[in-house]
Symmetry: C2
Subunit: 333 residues, 2 copies
Amino acid sequence: MATGPGQVPGPPPALLTEAGIIAALTPALPGRPDVRLGIGDDGAVLRPSPGTELVVVTDALVEGTHFPAGMPARAIGHRALAVNLSDLAAMGATPRWATLALSLPAPQAAWLEDFAAGLLGLAAATGTALVGGDTVAGPLFTTVTAIGEVPAGQPAGRRGARPGDAVFVTGTPGDAVQGRLLLGSDRDDAAAQYLRSRFLYPDARLAAGRALRPLASAMLDVSDGLDQDLGRLAAASGVGLELDAGLLPLSPQLRTVAGPDAIARALTGGDDYELAFTAPAVQAAAIAAIAAAAACAITRIGTVVAGSAVRWHDGGREYPVPAGAWQHFGAGA
Amino acid sequence: MATGPGQVPGPPPALLTEAGIIAALTPALPGRPDVRLGIGDDGAVLRPSPGTELVVVTDALVEGTHFPAGMPARAIGHRALAVNLSDLAAMGATPRWATLALSLPAPQAAWLEDFAAGLLGLAAATGTALVGGDTVAGPLFTTVTAIGEVPAGQPAGRRGARPGDAVFVTGTPGDAVQGRLLLGSDRDDAAAQYLRSRFLYPDARLAAGRALRPLASAMLDVSDGLDQDLGRLAAASGVGLELDAGLLPLSPQLRTVAGPDAIARALTGGDDYELAFTAPAVQAAAIAAIAAAAACAITRIGTVVAGSAVRWHDGGREYPVPAGAWQHFGAGA
């Protein structure tokens, strides 16, 4: 709260101790049979399900690099977990457990309450148990490690795309970067609100990822921009891609706000946390059924080809991807 | 290298890209059957051993909080993993896999090579596979999450101490904090070298922890000072402790350098990464055998009592623990 002239500022809010921080982040949840020991010992003791393999992902967020200073604490808590859940979604895994390392310069109760609400709310919604962590004094950053499970022996990863496969993307990429660009704006119509919320509260495509895993030949999540991430999929699989910018699923809100830049936002914007994947074209009907069941648009945007080139077309002509690809907040051109 | 007058400075060392950082941290190791997919996809896919439970630990290190600026990169890499292995040791777990989040302000090849040598050297020595991670631009910090395995159903943690149990500690606590205090000193005799090395390259007590697990009623690792950590064990178990400072296993090097402060170093110094534990007194012979097998001193320093007070004695009188307990580098009094 700003203190105007004539107002007497109250005492500064009390800083939390390490024990206070841990208490705020320890959810009062009913016991889970897969968590034998949770927060409070040197380590958590967990029971993996028989017949499964573990999927382990780690993503760190640093203030000023991955999110702007002053972002709402609830959104930071949500994002700290969501970016990891998105990696689990890309592996087709079911989230089970997570740990959090949280570094705070000045831990204040109200901030931490919001942060915990964002993180623990998403954890509860996705069946993820926060089982341990570390709180330290330092610059604002989070590192979450999430552990999921997949049925043993199923294919996974980004290396299996084959020439002839179709290329798909979930959702409407480009919204998040446009939402970030609107953070400092006072534009407040429905489109702006929607886009900001897509940046602040990304949704990991867990249900779609789990259902797509047995069908997809390669899959990854779109965190650094669709063009750059599809380039990684192509390189890992040793294939090329022919992609149609005209097929990109652009949200009406993005079209409204970005106008002629909408395609560029979708191709080079980051922080979408959608899934991009390849699958044999014969799976199109099954994929459409998955889209309906997961309530998540899935759009074909191209074809896997031999070679190593990733080319975008629009209306029959080559579409040059704009330079200055997204490199997370603050690091881009 | 310092550049004196008349010397022409060379070009600044080139900064590594994210791909270069990942390459430096990806060990060229033979495949392991428990790692189906390692670094290079959105997540690692791991195969837990049948009949085991997982132990998951996370520790973050921030420059200026947990280690001083300018500490050798090799020591930082070693420590990033070692502090986590110490938590696994306290749980009696066998380390299997780890992930690393590494934030660097200006990633330089020589620094990263040393960091990787420290981390990957310790990983190889302990059978820990680095299976994934995240590299970001930001202040210098590391977060390692390590996953180990324990036989299913064994007791673990710090909550089982019972009145009458004996209290033990491994190794010679106090060395590490004295080594840290010597970091800026030009004292370079054998004692100083030994103590500095105990701070820079802590050894997790993995073999001892694994062997002690079935015997110990409660166990934790000593990272914040023996007095403070034993206080946590007592609180978690709902017991008191009567402890004899005269029994503390002080190294000759610590006695030489710290003189009359040696006991205070052992009680309130941090970063020891020894194990403190309780066990029924009848286990003394078995514990002596474990000490011999693990090549690690284990010393009885007291007894668990009813109540909640943790009291130190020396020669029959109460020994007041000095104030200003260790709160990691830079945060203490």
